[in-house]
Structures are given as C-alpha cells and as structure tokens.
Subunit: 336 residues, 2 copies
C-alpha cells in the first residue's frame, strides 16, 4: 500500500504516537487556517519492540478514513509526533514507551505513504499546536508545560519551537530544584530532587502519601491518584491542600527560573495534572509572582486550549509548513 495526495482538495494527517494510543486528526486548509475534519485514536501495537506500530496504524487508518467517507490517497502530507528526541524533522533517538531505538520515522512512514513526512517530538508538537491553534495563539513567546506522569515543555519563540544543542530544550522536569534530596525523590535521570519528583502526577502522589501518613486525624489508607488528591484538596482535606500547595509552590518557583532565562509572554499548562483546573493555575501563578524577577511578574498563565489534541494539531501544522513558504497561503498540494 502506497499513498500520495495532491491537488487543492488534499488533506494533511496529524498523528500523535503514544505508548498506549495513537491519536490522529485529518485536516484541510493551510498552515494558518487549518480545519479539523475528523479525529480519533487507535491502540498502539507495541508487540515485538514496536515493529508493527506503523503497519498496524496505516492499515487501521485507511479503514477508518473510508468509513468517514475520506480517501487516504488524498492525503498530501503527514505529521508524526513521537515520544522521544527528534532531529532534522525525521529521526527519533529512542522511544522507551514504544520499545524503539533510533528510528528514521520518515523512512518508516514512506513504506506506507508517498509524500512529505514531518516527524516531531510529542512535547514540541503539543507546543506548536497550542501556539498556532490553542491558548497561545498570537503570542510571540511562551512555554507549553505538560504535567503528566513526568513534566516536559516546549518553548515557542518567534513562530517556531526552539531546538537546543543537545536535544534537551525545555526539559524543565529535570530542573535541579532540590539536588540535596534523598532517594525518596530519585528521578529516572539518575539524580535526586528534579522538579518532576515533586510536581508531576507521580511526584504529587509521593508528597500526598508522605503528608497523609503524617496526618494523625486522617486514618484512611485507600489508594491515591493525583486526581483524588486534587478532589480532596477541593474538599478542604488538610493533607491534600498541603500537597496541592506544595506542588504549585514548586512549579511557580521553577517557572520563575524559566523567566530569568527566557522572559516569556505566557505559560500554558497542559497534561493530565492540569485538569485540576483554574484553582491549580491560580495557585501556580501566585507562587510564580512571589518568586519571579519583578519585570516578568505579568507573564500570563493559561490552561491548554486543545486538550489532548494539541499534538495532532502541532504535527499537522508542521506538515502543512513543509510545503508552505513563510507568510504565504498555500493548500496541501503534496509532492504526488
């Protein structure tokens, strides 16, 4: 099966490959005026070191599109977000969640699709999505922070996502907040006291368990999730309030460091933990204003606007950009 799309009625497919699901969106338009025609997801086939990820996805995708009355051969370009560091818009250097080592994503996709392929790190795709079609639309600079199992971020500067020298741009989850911490805050990176050991979903759980155990008045010993912690905090449960405060405090402090470097216009909060909503956002912003250098005190704080679709938007927008000159409107006419 090989596909190629061209002409004014061509589509762009944005794909966001995660360890559990692959999300997709079919878009029409231009990079500046994209319209989502349909979207959905499939389970990720991680069997045998992830060797069937693409074959399984493209097989299912073709079926799904024809159910939706769309024709795969009309797809003009493909944007693929992957959970690992990407260089040159094509090669990913290891995706532990998929079982992948270094993979040339473009080459792998070209087995099933003829046309321009854009590969991008998933956090950077979400950043691109939020700053072109979400909460950051119109901003010149900002940080899209994803707070989930870990903490990652993408940095938006003058119309593009920043790429660093060693593939570690926006790795704010590994900010050395408390390098003196003990093994109870040991991070996957090998150090202790990284930001995500306190403020990611798993970091929040650690704090909650410690504080709940200390709380004499609280006898329950049920299993916790970050969601339950925030629910209990809303109900005024003391240990949960202190947990939420501690995580917000740590995030506000970390963002103050970011501002002393980048001085961004806006911080966008996404990922599972950000579903704690406005109260969490307000706490983080209050902490930030306490710690930041005063000229940056008016940086905006917003919740992500595209939810878990930010990645497919960003991947598709990057793919549209492949055949668009800057500031020029153009349709998704592929290289056929």
């Amino acid at each position: 099966m090989k596909y190629s799309g061209s002409g004014k009625d061509a589509f762009v497919l944005g794909v966001d490959i995660g360890g559990t699901n692959i999300k997709y969106g079919v878009f029409r338009g231009t990079k500046d005026f994209m319209r989502l025609l349909s979207d959905g997801s499939f389970p990720t086939d991680r069997s045998e070191g992830g060797k069937y990820v693409f074959s399984d996805f493209f097989r299912r995708m073709e079926g799904r599109l024809s159910e939706d009355g769309l024709d795969f051969s009309k797809i003009g370009a493909l944007g693929i977000a992957v959970p690992g560091p990407v260089t040159e818009g094509r090669t990913v250097h290891g995706c532990p969640n998929l079982g992948w080592g270094t993979v040339d994503v473009r080459k792998a996709a070209e087995m099933y699709f003829h046309g321009p392929v854009y590969a991008v790190n998933d956090a950077n795709a979400a950043c691109r999505g939020e700053f072109t079609y979400g909460a950051g639309k119109g901003c010149r600079s900002g940080v899209m922070v994803t707070i989930g199992t870990g903490i990652g971020s993408g940095i938006w500067l003058n119309g593009t996502v920043l790429e660093g020298a060693f593939g570690a741009t926006g790795e704010i989850g590994h900010m050395p907040m408390h390098p003196e911490a003990g093994p109870e805050r040991l991070c996957g990176c090998g150090k202790t006291g990284c930001l995500e050991q306190y403020a990611s979903a798993s970091g929040i759980l650690k704090t909650a368990e410690l504080l709940r155990a200390e709380d004499q008045s609280f006898q329950e010993d049920s299993e916790l999730t970050a969601e339950i912690v925030f629910k209990k905090a809303k109900e005024g449960e003391s240990w949960a309030v202190r947990t939420a405060e501690s995580a917000s405090e740590m995030l506000g402090h970390a963002f103050a460091f970011v501002s002393c470097v980048l001085d961004p216009e806006i911080f966008i909060l996404g990922g599972g933990v950000s579903r704690a909503g406005e109260a969490f956002r307000n706490r983080i912003q209050a902490a930030y204003r306490k710690y930041c250098y005063w000229p940056s005190r008016d940086a905006a704080f917003a919740l992500a606007g595209l939810g878990n679709k930010a990645g497919i938007y960003g991947a598709a927008q990057g793919a549209f950009s492949l055949f668009c000159e800057p500031n020029q409107k153009c349709s998704a006419a592929g290289s056929g």
Copy 2:
C-alpha cells in the same frame, strides 16, 4: 555639529556607555568582517542627571579621531550600548548609573550625528560581540554571562540576541536560588537569595566575610575584594577556597537550570570576576556537570575572548547589521 558618513571608506563607531567610562571603537569592514582601527575611553560626564553624556562624548570623540588621523564625517553608522533595558533598538527605559530616566538614544545621538543609530543594552551588546567576534564565534546558541558587581547575561540564538516579553531575558542574576534566605542576602530587586547575592563580586565578598569570621585560625581583618579572595584561594587559604567553591557551586547549579530551559551549546564567562580565570571556569563547569540534566553535560565553558571590548564590538556589529541584508556582504555606506 552634525556628521554623516557614506561611501566605501566609511567607518562604524561602537560605543559602550558605562557609569564611569565610555569606551569606543572605530571599525571598518562589514558586519561579518569587522576590523578594529582604534579604540579608547573617556570618563562619563554624569553631571546634572547625565544631561551632558552625549555632548561631552561627541566633542571629545571628534578631537580623538582627528588626533588619530580619522575624520568624524566618515562615520557611517553608530552603535551605542547603554546600561539599561532597550526597546526597538532606540529607547532605553532608565539607566540609574547615568542618572537617566527614559531616553530616546537614537534621537539624542542624532543631535550630533547624521546616520543610522543602533541602541542596545550593554549586556546584550557584549553577548553580540562575543558570539560574532569572541569566544562564541561560530556557535548557534549560547549564554554570555557577565559576573561583576552584579550578574547579567545575554542569550544568543540562531544569529541574534534574544529579546523577551518584559525586558528581562537573561536576568539570571535574579534567579531565585535561595528565596528562604534572610536579610543578609537581600537583593536590590527586593527579594532575598538571588544568584547574584552569592556569586557576583559583592555576593562573593559577603560569603568571604562570613567564612573568614568563622575561621578561628585566621585573625587578619583587612579589607577584602573579590580579587583578594581568589588570590587567597589560590594560596590555599581555607576560608577563601571555601568561598570560591561556594560561588562556583552556585553558578554551576544556576547554569544547570539554564540548560533545562535553553540547552545552549556554550556558556561564556565574562566580567571582572571571570578574571579569576581557568581555575574558576573549571570549578563552575564541574559543578554544572554535577547538577545538569545529562544530555546537556557536554555544554562548553569558555572565558570571554574580547575582555572589556565585547560591548564596543557588539554595538558596532549591530550598527553594521543596520544596513546589511542577512548573508550579504556590505560596506559601511551610511544613509548620508
């Protein structure tokens, strides 16, 4: 007196206005191949709120040039670095060291000079200088850190100095390293525990005085300077070694935060304190590698290459760029 330069034999004048001295350099060439013809400095006339800074400077400058056999009327463009936040390459919003409020630098200079004027913050000028003609030449990204009375930095990204949303980009001196610190580490910004309260010349002195007072074996009570501290550290004096270690540790830790955001190729160390030299550089790099997220561990650390001339290089290079298209060689032909 009005001047204007044009033609192939025109010069560019780079000026770096400080609270004590105004440094200048006369350059010929193009933005990519500048040659310093002559340089020097004058005292800054700060009388009456700095109202004579420009008139005094241009009067002296004309005299100095003619002594050097150069003709002021051949100056095609002017780059001016000022100690305050600059917007739009022309307006500075307060220079406490000069007694200035908001000043339209371009307009003020045009009283004495006809032709393109480029105004720039002094730390950003030094950054531009180091990354175009100094230790950072050829690097795509990096941070030029000036460690003097305070700590400032400029951020180089893809051929230009980064400008932030609120004029606070690269203000790493105000990173909230120990916000819980007491009044002995009170910063000019109103907070306690900022990086520069530990690792600038004045911060280093604070630490040295504390540690020397603790040191029972050390009875001397002479006045200290950062230079003396580093000299004593070299001689193995215990309190001085601990002071140097503590400052380097704090800088390495701070730079690890920077890397989690920007992931730069190189850190360049300039300013008075950086004259402590290779030993200081090595200590900072060792601390950095201890704290940083591992992918960024190979970021380079270099001492500034242009010394106190980085500002005049950067100001002149920015002025040359005013009439140069990107990637195009061009001479300093002014708009006459």
